[in-house]
Amino acid sequence: MTDKVLMDRVDRFINILNQARDLGLTVADADAGQLTLCLPYSEKIIGNPETGVIHGGAITTLMDTTSGSVMICALDEFELCPTLDLRVDYMRPAEPGKPVYARAEIRKMTRNIVFTRCEAFQDDGEIVATCVGTFMRIGKDATPKAYRDMIMGVDQ
């Protein structure tokens, strides 16, 4: 199931991240506690020109962004959650010319910490990489109200 309200919130959030905008990240799907983002193929993020395979760094950014935005799909109010750590396993090279998707879910959310899991895959469904992450909850008060309202879509 797709939740349009959540998709719009995540869309507003990732569109103010310069690097996410520059990579062309888009929201593919959002639902309670889970989120899928899409990284389009582009030549500027190639790691190996002989094969055209994109660099792992771009996939790390995709999975960090997806895992770091999935809390928007679980919290009633927006709060910024900085990354504590990420562990990325690269299973196989992404096939050139095709987008890469990342689907993140929340495994556990405590008062202070959000535990996430994420999988990066392509249209054939084969896993390209997986990522386990932990994020710090600094609380909604640490995020300016105008910024929170903008993400939540509250009219000023």
């Binding site: 991240l17 993020i45 994109i54 660099h55 790390t60 950014t61 562990r87 990325v88």
Partner: protein, 144 residues
């Protein structure tokens, strides 16, 4: 020129221009490398498109990770006697401080070199080497 030729030239001259040009992603984030004796220091000059959180503003965590990954791969290639292409297997990254909108540095250490797998530690800092913004370790598979 093959990647092996470029690497040989880089090892001889210490000029990383051609090697970095051969990795589009390195140019995309703006990675630079300088050699001091045998030591390599990687640099990521400040760049608007590398930013994430616009409130601080801070560099996107993924870019810091990508910067450290490319640095580790180049460091590993340079440390080999014969050309071997490193393929990253896994990457574990701890974020210690916000990466502010300024130049970032990284250095690497080869913790263990086996026949096929190498373990590399990477440290990234901005203000002082003693105050890292992130540390990471990576496993690479080395192919002939």
């Amino acid at each position: 020129m093959t990647t092996a030729d470029i690497l040989r030239e880089t090892q001889q001259t210490g000029d990383f221009t051609r090697l970095l040009e051969s990795i589009p992603y390195a140019g995309y984030i703006g990675l630079q490398c300088d050699r001091f004796g045998d030591d390599l220091i990687f640099r990521l000059p400040r760049k608007d498109s590398n930013l994430g959180n616009p409130m601080l503003p801070a560099i996107h965590g993924g870019v810091i990770g990508g910067f450290m990954e490319v640095s580790a791969a180049i460091y590993l290639m340079m440390s080999q006697d014969t050309f071997r292409m490193p393929k990253i297997v896994d990457f574990s990254l701890d974020y210690l401080r916000a990466g502010l909108d300024r130049e970032t540095y990284a250095e690497c250490h080869l913790t263990r070199q086996g026949n096929r797998v190498a373990n590399v530690m990477i440290s990234a800092w901005q203000k002082s080497r003693n105050e890292p913004i992130a540390t990471a370790r990576a496993h690479f598979l080395l192919e002939k």
